[in-house]
């Protein structure tokens, strides 16, 4: 084969492979890839029963409602507290029309060992999660790995006794499909995604 032809063939194959590995050059990181996948494929989420801060069972995804899920651990010193106050702002937005009563907000603990209902209620109290629109809940320990995998959340120890994780708002529609993943401060984006999910 002529060397120029061989080079051209390998260059085309290389660009093709690179495109396939990056969703058409759109997602270079795992985080952007999972956001793209949610928007494009709307994967069905695992159905589990959580335990809330009030000690009551809670179906995830919420039946008949859109759900916003945010993974947290309540002993987190920084980012989960910021996320909590942003979730409170989101709660205020969805409490108003046209979303009122149609959206369930869940701060979901990935540290069910330490996050007992009492501890979750404390976190809920700090941020004003009353249980009506927004609750704090934990999964059964056996359900946790499947939940993290389904939502695409990676939790790693931060070497200070806590965890680092990819924090985001996960919007699940009434059919239980993950339809959008947004930054925790993107409240307008979350509202728009909820409106689309409830259409």
């Amino acid at each position: 084969m002529h060397p120029a032809l061989a080079s051209l063939a390998l260059a085309l194959a290389g660009v093709g492979a690179l495109g396939a590995a990056s969703d058409g050059f759109a997602a270079l990181t795992t985080e952007s890839a999972r956001r793209l996948t949610a928007a494009r494929d709307r994967p069905a989420m695992l159905r589990v029963t959580l335990e809330t801060m009030d000690g009551t069972p809670e179906a995830l995804p919420a039946p008949g409602q859109a759900t916003v899920v945010e993974f947290i651990y309540t002993t987190c010193p920084e980012i989960c507290q910021v996320a909590g106050s942003e979730m409170a702002q989101l709660r205020d937005r969805i409490a108003a029309a046209p979303l009122a009563g149609r959206v369930r907000l869940i701060s979901l603990s990935f540290d069910p060992e330490r996050d007992t209902p009492e501890q979750m209620a404390r976190y809920g109290g700090w941020h004003g999660a009353g249980g009506w629109h927004w609750t704090v809940a934990r999964p059964a320990p056996d359900d946790l790995p499947g939940l993290l995998a389904a939502y695409g959340v990676t939790v790693i120890p931060d070497r200070m006794g806590g965890y680092a994780h990819n924090t985001a708002l996960h919007v699940v529609d009434r059919a239980g499909r993950l339809v959008a993943i947004l930054d925790t401060d993107d409240l307008a984006g979350a509202e728009a995604a909820l409106a689309r999910a409830l259409k």
């Binding site: 060397p3 390998l10 990676t154 931060d158 680092a164 990819n166």
Partner: protein, 191 residues
């Protein structure tokens, strides 16, 4: 031991150590990227002189093999590929196959036949790419890999910078030798 056997043993040793030390090497992005990936690439590079495939006309000037190596390297430069290797056993297996056979080996097969001018361009390109990576990894406010902490990401950035400086020194210093420097033009005219 023959030169051939030495190369095979060296490649196997690099590959096996990279595999055996998977746990500790992959626990830190600095050693994952700069030590383990380099070892796997070096294993393939060591085998290159033993492979007759690269001597065909299709690889004249080394272009075809260098293009293949650069494309495969580009895929392993995506942060999501590093995450995938940690999360998905298929990606991890692909890492142990593609880095020796689609990066290190073709790099060796291409480099051996590349014109000195092309080698110089690739060296310069390598240094500037490492500089860009160093800046990106030390300054990105977000985590590029979900599997690693932001402070580890910044250390990897400093590692890219150190590697760039070491390679620049290693490639530039031989050029200061008297025998490496062409004689100045005016001397030729005077002669």
């Amino acid at each position: 031991m023959s030169a051939r056997a030495t190369r095979i043993v060296a490649a196997a040793a690099l590959w096996l150590v990279a595999l055996a030390l998977r746990g500790p090497l992959e626990a830190d992005p600095l050693t994952h990227v700069l030590v383990q990936l380099t070892m796997l690439g070096a294993a393939g590079w060591a085998l290159a002189p033993l492979v007759a495939l690269g001597r065909g006309d299709w690889n004249r000037g080394g272009w075809a093999c260098l293009i293949l190596a650069i494309a495969a390297m580009a895929i392993w430069m995506l942060p999501r590929s590093i995450d995938a290797a940690l999360a998905d056993p298929r990606w991890e297996a692909a890492k142990f196959v593609t880095l020796p056979f689609l990066v290190g080996l073709p790099l060796g097969l291409g480099w051996a036949r590349a014109h000195p001018l092309l080698r110089a361009v690739l060296r310069a390109q390598c240094l500037s790419m490492l500089g860009v990576l160093a800046f990106l990894y030390t300054h990105a406010p977000l985590r590029l890999c979900n599997a690693y902490l932001v402070e580890d990401q910044q250390r990897l950035g400093l590692g890219f910078l150190a590697l760039a400086l070491a390679l620049a020194a290693g490639w530039a210093l031989p050029l200061f030798r008297a025998s490496a420097v062409p004689s100045p033009r005016h001397k030729e005219r005077l002669a």
